[in-house]
């Protein structure tokens, strides 16, 4: 999977939880889920679970805590996919 595909998949996943639509339109690798998209931190758990399902990976506690931005999420997805 290339990076554009991964970003597009990730965009679909976060969409239902986004509170700032303008920031969502401009989503890029440096977008922060909480500070930019204004996502409720409790919903990061739902996003992580949806990422697990969409990419067929399992995310551990340490990775979960790091997954607060698009680039962090992409990096974790890459690492977990490589481990498979």
């Amino acid at each position: 999977m290339n990076r554009e595909e991964a970003i597009s998949k990730l965009k679909d996943i976060v969409k239902p939880y986004v509170k700032d639509q303008e920031a969502f339109e401009k989503l890029n690798e440096s977008t922060d889920f909480i500070n930019d998209l204004k996502i409720n931190s409790a919903n990061l758990v739902d996003i992580v679970l949806d990422v697990e399902e969409a990419f067929g990976i399992e995310i551990d506690n340490v990775s979960m805590e790091k997954m607060t931005s698009v680039d962090a999420a992409l990096e974790i997805i890459d690492t977990k996919l490589a481990e498979k």
Binding site: N40, A42, V45, D46, V48, L49, N61, M64
Partner: protein
């Protein structure tokens, strides 16, 4: 025994404790009851001259039985008096009113328990077995 222990660990007391009994509990869900005594304070004002259990109280009852009791069971030794929990979301539908002196049963089914967050599908039934409200509730350790 375990059921009474869970109730004793609940971080609520009267007049804001809405759990009487846990009927069944396991890692996938919980079922419990509460009796809405007509002397509960909120009936004096909701509504004037026409006491009906407020939807927020039904939601709270579902959260205490369906989410907090199950959460304490799942956390087991990790839950103590220092554990701080918070409600994170509720999505509820109300189908029938609940009158004073009605006993309700809450049935909760775990959707997931991951990264300290518990999400459940919850339904409340009256003594006639009719569903009075249902929805999804989530909370987490904060």
């Amino acid at each position: 025994m375990i059921k009474d222990e869970i109730i004793s660990k609940l971080p609520y007391s009267k007049p804001f404790l809405f759990v009487d009994e846990i009927v069944r509990i396991d890692e996938n869900g919980v079922e419990g009851t509460f009796f809405f005594d007509e002397n509960l304070d909120f009936y004096k004002g909701h509504f004037k001259e026409n006491p009906v259990t407020p939807g927020v109280i039904l939601t709270e009852t579902m959260a205490q039985i369906g989410l907090v009791c199950l959460g304490i069971f799942l956390l087991d030794d990790q839950f103590n008096s220092e554990t701080v929990i918070g409600l994170t979301s509720t999505e509820m539908e109300f189908l029938k009113p609940v009158s004073p002196n009605e006993k309700v049963t809450v049935i909760s089914e775990k959707v997931y328990f991951r990264f300290g967050k518990l999400k459940c599908k919850v339904a409340m039934k009256n003594e006639r077995g009719e569903e009075v409200c249902s929805g999804t509730i989530a909370g987490m350790i904060v």
